[in-house]
Amino acid sequence: MVEVALTIPPDVVFIAFATVTLLAAILALQAKELIYGAIALGASFAGIAGMFILLDAPYLAMLQIAIYVGAVVVLILFTIMLVRREEGEEVTEQRERGEGAAGLWIAGLLAVAIAGVAALAGPNLPSTPPGNALPVSQLGPALVTQYPVPLLILAFLLSAALLGAMMLAKVER
């Protein structure tokens, strides 16, 4: 049996995923109809999942899709469905003066910060060469043996969130 494989340079894939993520994020903010915003947000999350696949973390990518595209977008859709706007009501947008300038400032600051971090710490960052990532079956042992304290903290945080949600739901009744 002969294998036919098409090889696409990873840079092209990265640029494609990055474009999808960024354009969808912009669309999510700019969409007039909230539903389109939610769909664009889902597409943006899916783009980030693609980044995880490029970084040899397929498990994380799948969970990103399941939790963000599958669950968070559903929550947002629920909210949108609950607050549908009235028939004939126009969408009004309040624009503050200097909005664009503020956005540019923040984007510039972020770019400078990221560039600075990359220049200072880039060579020292731990990197796993492609193909050397931890296999999925060793994720669990690594979590329990190498990182037990963050795992416990996360578990406590999630239980607290769960209990809090239950308390809030109970008060409502």
Partner: protein, 343 residues
């Protein structure tokens, strides 16, 4: 790896090498497109015939072939040529595109579901999580389609579908966890290989029951078909769908039925393992069809349950049983009771 041809003489060998490659055969012919189309068309006929027999009717008869088996083709031709009616003020883009996305999402899991030792398109290490990810996108697409219909029945049906699928997804995947613990892998090929000596339905029987109930709810099958309750909601979230759009949704739903049946087969019923007089893929398909039969039959027998019962069963009973199963499985595996089956 094949080089792209430079002269016309190399073209034919190049095409032959592509057509006979594992990738092409698995994607286009066997676990892929042709097989899926045929089986999902067969399932529509099979469901109608089976339900008719349960209710002492005859079912499809006139479309030709034994027992009217060509009925799906007649249905398909009819639906393609019917007018697509766009509801008043419906969202045109979403209304036409979401059914195609649903087909895509229904087909995608077959990329990792193995039908035989080598009959799998992509042997992913995270196969089970991949299916989890793709099926979890379904409910949001359904609610978006229901919203795009701009009509009350689809909207209520879509909300019910969302409630139901979100509530039953969690116990479903937690009960699949006990299989993962037994096999020690998320790779579906590994999971089936571990069942060579004993099918996982034996050590994880409770998980199987919970998983089966949950997929009945995920597939919106009776007794859980609240999202498309005919007497109250006409046809639920796809009330407004007509013509080719209805066909796309119908195809997606039957693909999902077949996908869930094949998943149950691979997780609990030993996948392709069976007496060796039949080849492996035949065993998988046969077992999946048996599971599909078990999913379809209650539609001819049981009444529909109430919304509050549905939600209560999902969140309080099934979730607790599924979690208890995980502990039972851990105890079973660590006690060494299953050691003689190599688990």
């Amino acid at each position: 790896m094949v080089n792209i041809p430079t002269s016309p003489a190399d073209l034919l060998p190049f095409i032959i090498s592509i057509v006979t490659s594992h990738t092409f055969i698995t994607i286009i012919i066997f676990p892929g497109m042709i097989h899926l189309t045929l089986v999902s068309a067969f399932l529509t006929w099979y469901e109608r015939k089976l339900l008719a027999r349960i209710q002492l009717r005859i079912g499809p008869l006139y479309a030709g072939g034994p027992g009217g088996i060509l009925q799906p083709i007649a249905d398909g031709v009819k639906l393609i040529f019917k007018e697509v009616i766009l509801p008043y003020k419906a969202d045109r883009t979403l209304f036409t595109w979401i059914p195609l996305v649903l087909i895509y999402l229904g087909t995608l899991p077959f990329a990792v579901i193995p039908f035989g030792q080598h009959w799998v398109i992509a042997n992913l290490d995270v196969g089970l999580v991949f299916i989890f990810a793709t099926t979890s996108v379904f409910p949001s697409m359904i609610i978006i389609f229901a919203w795009a219909s701009n009509s009350k029945y689809p909207f209520i049906g879509g909300l019910r579908s969302l409630f139901q699928q979100v509530a039953y997804e969690i116990p479903m995947w937690i009960s699949a966890l006990s299989v993962v613990i037994l096999a020690g892998s998320l790779n579906l090929v590994d999971i089936v290989n571990k069942q060579a000596k004993i099918w996982f339905i034996v050590p994880a029987f409770l998980s199987f029951i919970v998983f089966f109930i949950c997929i009945m709810a995920e597939l919106e099958r009776l007794p859980f078909d609240l999202p498309e309750a005919e007497p109250e909601l006409v046809a639920g979230w796809f009330t407004e769908a007509s013509g080719a759009i209805f066909m796309a949704i119908f195809l997606a739903l039957y693909l999902k039925l077949y996908m869930m049946s094949a998943l149950v087969t691979d997780l609990f019923l030993g996948g392709w393992w069976g007496p060796p007089f039949l080849p492996q893929p035949v065993w998988t398909v046969l077992k999946a069809l048996v599971v599909a039969t078990a999913i379809i039959i209650p539609r001819g027998i049981y009444p529909r349950i109430r919304v509050d019962m549905l939600i209560r069963i999902g969140w309080t009973r099934l979730l607790v049983i599924a979690l208890a199963n995980v502990f039972i499985t851990v105890v079973l595996v660590n006690s060494g009771l299953l050691a003689r089956w190599g688990l």
